[in-house]
């Protein structure tokens, strides 16, 4: 476990210096981050009804009731995209902050999980040139650093062989930081800086269910309760008399995820899910009045599960998926922003351990030039890393 933790920290360190998500995330509260490990990513995030006995990061917390050992899971996504607007294009490489959770079986069928998970995030860093007569060239620099995250405490229970349920306390935190900076190509010129920082905090609840309706049919549901955030806003400027601070409330509405997983034949399983969150009132974001709508996700996945026998190719899973998202924001106002992704993935088993390295490739598009003026073609690489060891007290030898 110690070596696994060190390896995981190595992955975590790689994420430092992380940049943005989709360019569409450079506003409001950012881009929704889907729940799940790279296994679930490979299934088009359609796996709310998929039983998982390896990963602690899952789209359905009730699934963690099946973890037989102490389990640590990291998930990291690298995104590379090319953004198009008119005749301009820009290639971007970005990381998500990793998601990680650790699960501790208290007794068989009763598992406690905690960790870190990002709900929404957005990052941007762009600059425009300013020409001022009689002065050196000036630059207008904008930076967005937005992250709303959860520190969940989950208790998952399997009261019957066919049923898993979970309750979740969500400690919500995060911040949206906008920095604006005007600077010159001359050290004699002073930067003029402004920053608006909004710190979010709030407690929310979640509940989930995973039901084995039939050995070949599983149903799943996850309710992610509404979050009533308290937002502390501080605006700081180079001219300090302009500094302000204020507090307001912002409610992130409840999200609901429902789906099924069905054994089509042999080791092949089909899964699908529908996730939605109602439109939020954009309190604190008056410029977005009339531009916020319901957010939805529809995913479909096919998985050929791994066999414990046979050729090496039989021992690894094969996963394919498709998903489409409707963003919570409309751009231009009234015009939906949609994204579509194809996913492909597999896993490398970790020897005789129940752990695995799951990996996923995603290819997709966010927005379109015809409808949204801006189109982003995206390639994503997802990696997750799960390790497990029995959760027991070590014996102490006495000499």
């Amino acid at each position: 476990m110690r070596t696994a933790a060190a390896a995981s920290i190595l992955i975590l360190l790689l994420s430092f210096g992380a940049k943005a998500q989709s360019i569409y995330g450079m506003n409001y509260i950012g881009e929704a981050v889907h729940m799940g490990s790279s296994r679930h990513q490979a299934l088009g995030y359609s796996a709310v009804a998929v039983q998982d006995t390896i990963n602690s990061v899952t789209p359905n917390p009730a699934s963690t009731a099946d973890l037989p050992m102490g389990t640590l899971t990291f998930q990291q996504v690298l995104s590379a995209s090319r953004v198009y607007f008119l005749d301009f294009s820009s290639k971007q490489t970005r990381y998500q902050v990793p998601t990680f959770t650790v699960s501790f079986p208290i007794r068989k069928g009763l598992v406690m999980t905690t960790g870190y998970r990002t709900r929404y995030m957005g990052r941007a860093d762009f600059v425009y040139q300013r020409d001022i007569e009689g002065a050196p060239v000036a630059y207008e620099n904008y930076k967005l650093d937005s992250s709303l995250y959860i520190l969940p405490v989950i208790v998952a229970w399997r009261p019957f062989d066919a049923l898993r349920v979970a309750g979740e306390a969500q400690f919500n935190f995060g911040s949206i930081i906008d920095k604006v900076n005007v600077w010159f190509d001359d050290l004699n010129y002073r930067n003029v800086d402004s920053q608006r920082r909004r710190n979010f905090s709030g407690l929310s609840w979640g509940a989930s269910l995973l039901w084995e309706a039939h050995p070949r049919l599983w149903l799943g549901c996850n309710i992610d309760g509404a979050v009533n955030y308290r937002v502390d806003e501080v605006v700081e400027n180079t001219t300090s008399v302009l500094d302000t601070s204020t507090t307001f409330d912002y409610t992130l509405p409840l999200a609901l995820d429902v789906g099924f997983a069905a054994n089509a034949f042999g080791r092949w399983w089909l899964s699908s899910s529908y996730w939605m969150r109602a439109a939020a009132d954009p309190a604190g974001f008056p410029q977005l009045e009339g531009s916020v709508g319901d957010e939805t996700h529809i995913g479909v996945g096919i998985e050929r599960r791994a066999s414990n026998e046979g050729h090496i190719l039989n021992r690894i899973p094969i996963r394919l998926g498709f998903y489409t998202d409707k963003w919570h924001l409309q751009f231009p106002p009234g015009q939906e922003v949609n994204s579509m992704f194809l996913t492909f993935g597999s896993a490398i088993p970790l020897g005789k351990s129940p752990g695995a390295i799951d990996y996923t490739l995603e290819f997709g598009r966010i927005g379109s030039k015809a409808e949204n003026f801006v189109e982003e073609n995206v390639f994503r690489l997802g990696l997750s890393f799960s390790v497990a060891e029995p959760w027991s007290k070590r014996s102490t030898k006495r000499h």
Binding site: A7, I23, N27, V182, S194, L242, Q287, S291, L329, L383
Partner: protein, 402 residues
């Protein structure tokens, strides 16, 4: 074994992420973000950046009577409106006591001239015995009292003509013979060398001063029998008269320029990017160093000191001291646009923590060197008149355009 596998997998993953990251790269986002920004979807909007020119309410000079005693070079004549009217010299007479009973054959005053501008310049002067003492440490702006009857030469001449070729002047030997015989004291306060008349063409004669360390002016007393005694100068002083007509800051004489301005055109909420006092130097009227000073390795740059005075009233002594804003070097013998950044001073003025809107420019070597920084005044054309330049940015609007 399992631990090795875990670590190997993690390492492979790390390398893969790094390789992808390095291979993909990231462009500047600039143009592709415009639709979001210009529509207000992404709301922060930086305020406008503007350039403001304050043409100055008033630019004037303060004249401060001043004199410089310690100098490596003594000067007579005039350069760039600074007239060197008088030289004061004191000699060391101690050794004369050893020659009692001897007969003086001749006496020569030797002035170690090193350069004359221009080379044909010559100046008629008289040597007069000083009736008062002087000190190099004092500020002397006019000659101390002296005997109006000039010291005569060997042929009883009173007006001597100094030029590059003529630097040795005879002194009536009977004067010195009386010193040797003890019937008269040597000139107790020394002599002054004064202009005998104003020449048609002005120029400058430069010679080593005793402060240079070697080769000072001296009296050469030659006795019968060939014995020679040198009486070197032990204290000397060049007195100046300020005849500068241009708008100038000058050391030595001395002059300072003060600039009065207001910032009514700068919005109250503006955040300062840059501010500067801008002026154009008039190289033809500037003086960095005389030729003689350059020969002894003196710098030609004008070290300036810009300060905000304790009082904005030119008649108040508080105008002569205050808080420093900037100090550096300026070349003064070429026409150039000079910008002196005003830094924190202007920030303080704009945010109201400082109300004084006057700046004073002076030579930072005001007490040690005669130098002139001449600038074009407010009556000059727009391209060369002085002004205050301010570049500011208005506050960011975080609520955006919509």
């Amino acid at each position: 074994m399992m631990k090795r596998i875990y670590f190997a997998y993690a390492l492979i993953a790390a390398i893969a992420v790094l390789a992808l990251s390095a291979g993909c790269g990231t462009d500047a986002e600039g143009p592709v973000t415009r639709p979001f920004h210009e529509s207000g979807w992404y709301s922060p909007q930086a305020g406008d950046t503007e350039r403001y020119i304050d043409t100055l309410r008033n630019v004037s000079m303060i004249e401060i009577p001043y004199g410089i005693g310690h100098s490596s070079i003594l000067k007579l004549g005039e350069i760039k409106g600074v007239r060197y009217t008088t030289l004061l010299m004191q000699f060391r007479y101690d050794s004369l006591a050893n020659y009692e009973g001897m007969t003086v054959d001749s006496v020569i005053l030797d002035l170690p001239v090193i350069t004359v501008q221009d080379t044909l310049f010559h100046l008629g002067v008289t040597f007069n015995e000083l009736l008062e003492g002087f000190s190099e440490d004092d500020t002397i702006t006019s000659p101390p009292a002296y005997d109006p009857d000039p010291i005569q030469g060997a042929n009883e001449e009173t007006v001597r003509d100094i030029s590059f070729e003529r630097t040795e002047f005879s002194i009536n030997k009977t004067i010195v013979q009386e010193w040797v015989d003890g019937t008269a004291d040597p000139w107790p306060h020394g002599i002054s060398i004064n202009w005998a008349y104003v020449p048609d063409t002005l120029g400058l004669i430069e010679m080593y001063a005793q402060d240079y360390g070697t080769n000072p002016p001296f009296l050469n007393v030659l006795f019968d029998g060939g014995t020679e005694v040198i009486l070197p100068v032990v204290s000397d002083y060049a007195i100046t008269e300020d005849r500068i007509t241009d708008l100038a800051a000058a050391g030595g004489t001395a002059r300072r320029i003060y600039f009065e301005f207001d910032l009514d055109g700068v919005p109250e909420l503006a955040a300062l990017n840059y501010s500067a006092l801008v002026f154009h130097t008039d190289g033809s009227s500037g003086l960095g160093a005389t030729y003689g000073e350059m020969l002894v390795g003196t710098s030609t740059d004008f070290p300036y000191y810009l300060y905000t005075p304790d009082s904005s009233d030119p008649d108040d002594p508080g105008m002569l001291e205050g808080t420093g804003v900037s100090r550096s070097l300026i070349p003064v013998t070429i026409d150039a646009k000079i910008k002196i950044p005003l830094g924190q001073y202007m920030i303080d003025v704009l945010n109201g923590s400082r109300v004084n809107t006057v700046l004073v420019l002076q030579s930072d070597f005001e007490a040690t060197r005669v130098q002139i920084l001449a600038i074009f005044d407010t009556a000059a054309g727009d391209s060369i008149r002085p002004y205050i330049e301010i570049i500011y940015t208005m506050p960011t609007d975080f609520q955006g355009k919509r």
